[in-house]
Amino acid sequence: MITLVPLGLSAQGDPERGEVLAYTCSGCHGIPFYKNIYPTYSVPKLGGQNQEYLIAALKAYREGTRQHATMQAQAATLSDQDILDVTAYFVSIGENGS
């Protein structure tokens, strides 16, 4: 049921276009237990994450209010539409079930 839209502020976006954009993201977030180098910790899982949260995170990286060198560099290349689409794709992973 991909057509099920949550009540309230529902972000949208094109998950198919997002999947293409997410190719770069997969280089770190698609490798299970891939580690951030310093400080060392596993890069977070994104599949099934809430879209509004992901949008806020990417915009915070883009604006520099959330700091992480790699993520700031990546987010800087994304338009608002890109952010909508790529986060729509991340959400869709959760909807497809395990």
């Binding site: 596993s42 977070p44 809430n50 509004e52 949260y53 959760g94």
Partner: protein
């Protein structure tokens, strides 16, 4: 090297090895304690971390344990800024953070991206 120094080195080496190989260390925090301590967290993130009060709040269920630890410590030291989380994380000890991360990381929820 005198005998006392040698004994000290042997003792410290064995303690170090015990620390890094013991199940307690490998398991990180205590998830049962984490559940007990998560009452405040639950009001926004839900019992398992899948029930976000607002869509702008992240799901926590199944997130990597060490990432959750990193996130909470970042809120606590101010390197990650969020007014709500700063208030809560500021009151947590390292032990609390380890226990909470143990609880939420063990719940069914978030997934890695598929790489095909």
């Amino acid at each position: 090297m005198n005998r006392l120094t040698l004994m000290t080195i042997v003792l410290m080496t064995s303690m170090f090895l015990a620390a890094i190989t013991s199940p307690a260390h490998a398991a990180g925090g205590d998830y049962r304690r984490g559940l007990e301590k998560s009452q405040v967290c639950q009001s926004c993130h839900g019992r398992t971390g899948n029930e976000s009060l607002q869509p702008s709040y992240p799901r926590l269920a199944g997130q990597h344990e060490d990432y959750l630890v990193h996130a909470l410590k970042s809120y606590r030291n101010g390197s990650r800024q969020n007014a709500v989380m700063a208030g809560f994380a500021g009151n947590l000890s390292d032990r609390d953070i380890a226990d909470l991360a143990a609880w939420y990381s063990r719940q069914e929820g978030l997934q890695d991206l598929d790489v095909e």
